[in-house]
Symmetry: C2
Subunit: 238 residues, 2 copies
């Protein structure tokens, strides 16, 4: 089966968590909005008055007749169908998903650093507020989230190589993506953070070295980081 | 098995989504932080250096040896173990969960109306920003989210009574809780919204009339709405 991924083509954004899972699983997929149909294919899905399960927002994955949205939900689905992405036990699946939902929470706080008032308003109209939010994010929130993932690695009874058990899961790919995004958006702050994130950085490097991930990151399928959820505004980086 | 729920005792908050599911399922549970152990029981779990699956934040559900956190993840677990809370098919379970994750997104935006800069700062120190965020929330975001749930009911092939299929699921209980919270926090705005939310309001009323939900809401187990995720500041209600 060939999956269809629907996500805005202008930045990696939330779609990247899904792309990394599809790539690592070696799954066949079409990144629809980057092809001839363009972003209108997404708008059509969002505006449909006839779908039984209308999605609220992308990313959206079409898997045969199934339409699955919400990043973490898509990964939950992929984890159940690709044994290389998630454990088989209920406890393992729930723990992996729990960590992924904390990734979701983190991404919303990243988004809020440059759009504290609303995603509907332009960055230029909320710059002063962004400085306040980003300062708190770098002082309190980012260290709390990143330190949490470091602690999960440290407390993993199977060792600190992966977040869940002794094998890679989709949430390791997501943590890799967070490190990539933080280095892009907050290079100075992230450099300082990394001193206390040895296990997170080692996991990032191990994921980066995986043949399928490395091939993907070097391919044109990878969209370079730009104005998406992770954004580089030098004034927001301490 | 008697579940243990861990959530801050001072407001319904995110814990309420879990309580409603436990109550509707007729499950036996201990609301630990409201008992003799108090909120310290939560702090102990959060600070543990020995847990194999350390939670990031409450709500946390202890189910035998299993420790499950993240509201939507707890509901995913409960839905799999109580047939009155979720469909059995994979497609049904994913769709219910997808809607629940949109509830999660909505709750974060509710929180941001009174804490736009950071949850770490006091409301008093971010009042002017709150007015801007709340105005956008009431003009754009809340109508978008609530209108989405109305459309999901409208497009449900099994009819508009429930969000998923022809039977109640946990996400119906969550939507009931959102209506309760919005009426508390934004009474004027919500009154106006409800004119366009006939199906959502009918679902709220049907949930409120369910014997277990009605008994719960009238019991001391229900914490009255106060300064939690939903907060009533007259200045933020248009």
């Amino acid at each position: 089966m060939k999956y269809e991924l629907y996500y805005w083509p202008w930045s990696p954004g939330r779609g990247e968590f899904v792309r990394l899972a599809l790539e690592e699983a070696g799954a066949d997929y079409d990144d629809v909005a980057r092809g001839p149909k363009g972003p209108d294919a997404i708008n059509k899905l969002l505006a449909s008055k006839s779908l039984a399960t209308p999605p609220f927002a992308p990313p959206i994955l079409k898997a045969g007749k199934l339409l699955v949205a919400q990043t973490a939900n898509i990964l939950l689905y992929l984890g159940a169908h690709h044994s290389s992405l998630a454990p088989k036990t209920e406890a393992g699946r729930l723990w992996t998903h729990q960590l992924q939902l904390t990734v979701t929470d983190f991404m919303k706080e990243v988004q809020d650093t440059h759009h504290p008032y609303s995603g509907d308003l332009k960055f230029e109209d909320q710059m002063a507020a962004s400085k306040i939010t980003a300062t708190d994010f770098l002082e309190n929130r980012a260290p709390k989230f990143l330190g949490y993932f470091e602690r999960v690695l440290e407390q993993n009874p199977s060792g600190p190589k992966y977040l869940v058990g002794a094998k890679l899961t989709y949430v390791d790919l997501s943590l890799f993506n967070i490190v990539e995004g933080m280095r892009f958006a907050f290079p100075k702050a992230m450099k300082r953070f990394e001193g206390k994130l040895k296990r997170v950085v080692a996991l990032h490097d191990a994921v980066a070295a995986r043949p399928r991930v490395a091939a993907y990151m070097a391919s044109p399928r990878r969209i370079p980081e730009k104005s998406g959820t992770f954004r580089y505004y030098p004034s927001l980086d301490e």
